[in-house]
């Protein structure tokens, strides 16, 4: 049976206000609302699509974080077979991706998958992507920016995106790790009732991450909010007033 491992993570919701910790060198994580990394959600979807098409066992692994159980149960509701929560992480300090990659590689080696899928990028990613690092540690090829995968024997056929809509159809020898940009079909929604049902039937395995390094190898001198060189001229007032102002802007531009 084809084994697929998906690495999925929760990341800060960037629509919220982001704050910098008193150290001035890290994000204040205590206030962050976490959501699934969008591209990881696509990776889960792509794994389920492959499973539905040609059969596979799908394992979703996620580092512990507030809300991770919900994410894992909802993956199970979509069709994931095995759920693993990586525990023992420091709540305050984010481990370096490299140490997280080492820990994950150890765990994934045991599973011995044909395919590792992960999001092409995490929105808060301060470090290198996890996918390529895990791939290197397991001596697998890595290809990112993928928007569709099918398996044919010992080869993955994957579409890699280039700017402007150009695609390259890649042939990648398995086992391999792919960074998913978009799944073939938009990620499905699952009914809350189905997720609830998983809470009582599915099992989340807890596996310790072991000792993880939280010190980066280079020094962050300073973390700060961007100073906008020229901030937009804000149109103020009621919606009616703003609509009128915008309309006259459009007139001035000669667009009406």
């Amino acid at each position: 049976m084809t084994e697929i491992v998906v690495i999925a993570r929760l990341v800060p919701d960037l629509v919220e206000e982001l704050e910098i910790a008193p150290s001035g060198k890290a994000l204040d994580r205590s206030w962050l609302r976490l959501i699934i990394n969008e591209f990881d959600n696509h990776a889960i979807e792509q794994a389920i699509i492959i499973k539905e098409r040609s059969g596979a066992k799908v394992t979703v692994i996620s580092p512990d974080a507030e809300g991770v159980e919900d994410m894992l149960y909802s993956s199970a509701a979509k069709g994931a077979d095995r759920l693993i929560k990586l525990t023992g992480l420091d709540e305050e300090k984010k481990p370096t991706n490299k140490s997280l990659a080492q820990s994950l590689a150890g765990l994934i080696k045991e599973i011995n998958p044909d395919l590792i899928l992960t999001g092409v990028q995490a929105n808060d990613d301060l470090t290198g992507d996890l996918g390529p690092q895990v791939a290197d540690l397991l001596d697998m090829p890595y290809v990112g920016y993928i928007s569709g995968v099918s398996l044919e024997g010992s080869t993955a056929k994957a579409l890699k995106e280039y700017p402007g809509g150009l695609l390259a159809e890649m042939e990648i020898s398995l086992p391999a790790a792919l960074g998913i940009q978009a799944s073939e079909e938009p990620p499905r929604y699952v009914a809350i009732s189905k997720v609830r049902q998983m809470m009582s039937t599915a099992n989340i395995e807890e596996i310790s991450a072991g000792e993880l390094d939280t010190e980066g190898e280079f020094t962050i001198e300073r973390m700060y909010l961007p100073e906008a060189a020229e901030k937009a001229e804000m149109l103020e007032g009621s919606e009616e007033e703003i609509a009128a102002q915008l309309t006259s802007v459009l007139e001035d531009l000669g667009l009406l």
Partner: protein, 321 residues
Amino acid sequence: MTQDIYVVIEHIQGKVSDISYIMTAAAKDLAQHEGGEVVGILLGSNVSHLKDNLALDRVILGEHPDLKDFSSDAWKRTLLAVFAEYSPRAVFFGNTTIGSDLSSSIAAHQDCPIINHCIKISDQGLVTSQICGGKIMTDSQLSEKTTLISMIPGGYKPEEGQGGPPRDVVEFPVPDLSDLKVKVAQYIEPDTSDVDISQEKVLVAVGRGIQTEDNIELAQELADLLGGTLCASRPVIDQGWLPTSRLVGKSGKSVKPDLYLSLGISGATEHLEGITGSKTIVAVNSDPDAPIFDVAKYGIEVDLFDLIDPLLEKIEAAKGG
């Protein structure tokens, strides 16, 4: 270790990508602080002429039939050999479909650090990065080891890295590339049957703030009234609400309309990459901190659904009158 700053030159279908010039400009700044030279690594097949317009001191040229198309496996093997030979102070990669397949993987392999999302080298020689979709900046120092840097556009103009030709060209013996695990089977060209948004004068752009597929119609009405075309950010396209031909940004198209009216788009760096050529950007977003306001000429901080109806009315009135 040398003090030289290396740049992995990217090219697609015979053309040097803008990011290569941008990285060259950044490498020049960094080399000034580190006291080294700027060295380009140019891999491919029959690509020697691509070096001519790059403001590099030196080029390391690796040519091989299997380097013709980008294969992360072939490029990684070759780059590892180059780094083993020359031991650079720092190496720039694009935060692109090519560079990102290499940089983190090489960082893991070499056990060296990687600084992501670099947009600029600061006056102090620090690596300035833009993270969290453009909402947070960091200044970082190179580590003691060779440091990899993954670069996004925005901080340098491509012209700043143009010049050349480089003083020296060093032909590098490409290592064994047999049994490649990653190969290109074919390229699939984009569908050109839809409108070409890069040529449109008026664009109404919708982002995740539009919330549902049904709401697209509202934005379409506004676009129609303005004689414009609808386009979108990536999440809208990935949901299948508009065709891929309407995608604006890094993986889509760069546009240059007279008016870019964005509705519910946050302004992530990957999106902004595609709109810098716009004459006038108007941004509607309910989040006062949305990075799109940093590039817009006019900003409107309201719920877009409260604005569209009055706006349609006012525009109709203005057109009728």
